[in-house]
């Protein structure tokens, strides 16, 4: 019987065939923790009575959620994690290096590998054809110590992409459309696998955005087959040798199939307070009132192509006087590229504020917490009540293009009129 990508990667990894629904002890290539989940992960690791990591060079620690630290308790958490890295040889990624998922994509992950991360958006690395999934601190602590944890092999939903995106439409609109269709729990306990001829038109950065939000439909992972686009992206990073082809079998068995016609997708907005509350940008459900803050960046949409698309709209224009515009590059490397491509100038001239590469205001800890009654449009992945530090605020999710148009107009706007 043919295998889906998830079944194939796990089977290859375990050296034996695995089937959906089966419980296995899955072996892991990489583990990941960040400053929000890391201290608990380290304490659980210590509770196991272990004094060394199974594979220190593949245990990644990131200071990205509250970076730079806004208060002493979090500075102490950072210190605790630095000490852990020094003691065990785990790889430390410092304040300002970037968001964990971006750095994993830039430096570490390869197709067909397995990554367990104490962060729900670990599924981002599925863009490479890696079985990457979010877990809790205890799971990751155990995987760091023993190199494995328990796992139920997921069934797979096949997402068949057809056609090509119109101008002004991006990967973010694709995944928002899909989450609107699936619902926030539509893929719970299952894997999403993307396929079809539409893949050819989706670059790696679009794939990273799509895979990043797989978890917002409840999925364990959002998997892309690796292909020439994957290989070229790795080559661009000087990691060509990391490329491995991984594709599903032609007779793979899927739980169900959903076709998405890329040509028909229009700009999408997820309205408060759930990610599946998705409407086209011009729908009556999307409010016309003022937006006080626009955020472009984060692990979902903080890559060079995201900023290039936003800059094309903001070039020669100004943010609305009533709207703050925050730019959050997903890594130092992205920030450097923005400088080299003269995009910093565009954003500065438009009246934008820059936030340290990292999670920025998405987690509600610092750098852009919302006021009571405020409305924010962000390119991040979540709009839950209280997400950006205030349960009395509203968060709307959209693409970098829609965000740029919204920053100019001061209300949620269709980016296509600026193209």
């Amino acid at each position: 019987m043919g295998q889906t990508l998830a079944e194939k990667i796990l089977s290859r990894h375990e050296g034996k065939g695995v089937k959906p629904g089966q419980f296995i002890l899955a072996h892991v290539d990489w583990t990941l923790m960040q400053d929000g989940t890391g201290p608990l992960t380290v304490r659980q690791f210590e509770a196991l009575g272990k004094d060394h990591l199974k594979d220190p060079a593949r245990c990644l620690v990131f200071l990205d959620h509250a970076a730079p630290s806004p208060r002493r308790e979090l500075s102490n958490d950072h210190h605790f994690l630095r000490e852990f890295c020094e003691k065990t040889g785990a790889i430390l990624n410092e304040v300002g290096d970037g968001v964990c998922h971006q750095l994993v994509a830039e430096r570490h992950i390869a197709p067909a590998q397995v990554l367990f991360g104490a962060d729900s958006h670990t599924c981002t690395a599925g863009a490479f054809g890696a079985y990457a999934t979010g877990m809790g601190s205890t799971d990751v602590a155990v995987a760091m110590a023993l190199g494995k944890t328990w796992l139920r092999v997921p069934e797979t939903i096949h997402i068949l992409l057809r056609g090509i995106l119109q101008e002004g439409i991006s990967g973010k609109d694709v995944i928002l459309t899909l989450i609107g269709k699936l619902g926030a729990d539509g893929a719970n306990y299952q894997a999403l696998e993307f396929g079809g001829s539409g893949l050819e038109g989706l670059d790696m950065e679009s794939r990273l955005t799509i895979a990043n939000m797989a978890v917002e439909s409840g999925a364990k992972c959002g998997l892309f087959p690796s292909d020439e686009i994957t290989r070229a992206y790795l080559e661009d990073q000087g990691r060509e040798e990391a490329y491995v082809p991984v594709t599903p079998d032609e007779d793979a068995v899927y739980a169900r199939e959903i076709a998405v016609d890329l040509d028909t997708i229009v700009p999408q907005v997820a309205c408060p307070h759930t990610v599946d509350n998705v409407f086209p940008v011009d729908a009556p459900e999307v409010p016309k009132g003022p937006v006080q803050q626009v955020v472009i960046g984060t692990c979902t949409n903080g890559r060079v192509s995201d900023f290039a698309a936003a800059a094309k709209i903001l070039q020669g224009r100004q943010r609305h006087p009533g709207t703050r515009l925050l730019i959050v590059p997903s890594s130092r490397r992205v920030l450097k590229a923005l400088m080299e491509k003269n995009l910093l100038e565009v954003f500065l001239a438009a009246g934008a504020t820059f936030v340290t590469p990292g999670c920025g205001p998405c987690v509600g800890v610092h750098a852009g917490a919302l006021g009571d009654g405020e409305r924010c449009l962000s390119t991040q992945n979540r709009n839950f009540k209280g997400r950006m530090g205030n349960p009395n605020a509203e968060i709307y999710l959209a693409s970098p293009l829609t965000a740029a148009a919204t920053a100019i107009e001061g209300k949620i706007a269709d980016p296509r009129k600026f193209l």
């Binding site: 089966q22 104490a118 809790g136 601190s137 799971d139 155990v142 944890t149 719970n188 209280g386």
Partner: protein, 172 residues
């Protein structure tokens, strides 16, 4: 958990659909994550302000659809447990939250919760897969957890499980 660790009784606290980990452990208390007892004072604060102040040991959290959606923060089930809650039951439960409950030793049940009202006394038998709503004289059956999860839960969570057996002992 009382007796053989699979039967217990408590009072129901009702929550709606889509309760996220941001409702359970809000990001504005991020700085309390290394101080779990303090963080537990804010458990579920953005869903029901009265919960953290009034929850009693043994009480049961009853959710709707997709309970625990969102972040991987294990602090969410951990502080629900620290608040004294004996089990979380919901119509459906988000995947990471679900496995985190098992790993921290908090019993978690997926079943039809529509007949349960606020304050009802619920008796749960994990092995039989039965909830008895004593207030409403209602019986709700559910599929018992797979053996892998039952074993981890019985040992009190994944860390105690591994300390007890020296490694995984789940018969995969």
């Amino acid at each position: 958990m009382r007796g053989r660790g699979v039967e217990f009784e408590g009072r129901a606290w009702l929550f709606g659909d889509g309760i996220s980990t941001d409702h359970i452990a809000p990001g504005r208390y991020f700085h309390l994550r290394s101080n779990l007892n303090e963080l537990a004072k804010h458990v579920l604060e953005d869903a029901r302000e009265d919960f953290a102040k009034n929850v009693q040991p043994g009480d049961i959290v009853v959710g709707g659809r997709n309970f625990g959606q969102g972040s991987s923060r294990e602090h969410a089930p951990t502080i629900i447990k620290l608040a004294g809650v004996s089990a979380v039951i919901a119509r459906s439960i988000a995947r990471i939250f679900f496995r985190n409950c098992i790993n921290v030793g908090l019993p978690v049940i997926i079943c039809d919760t529509s007949g349960i009202a606020e304050g009802d006394i619920l008796a749960i038998d994990l092995e039989k897969g039965l909830i008895e709503d004593k207030t409403r004289k209602l019986k709700i059956a559910f599929s018992p957890l797979p053996p892998v999860m039952t074993r981890i839960l019985r040992d009190g969570g994944l860390v105690p499980h591994i300390l007890k057996h020296g490694d995984f002992s789940i018969g995969t």
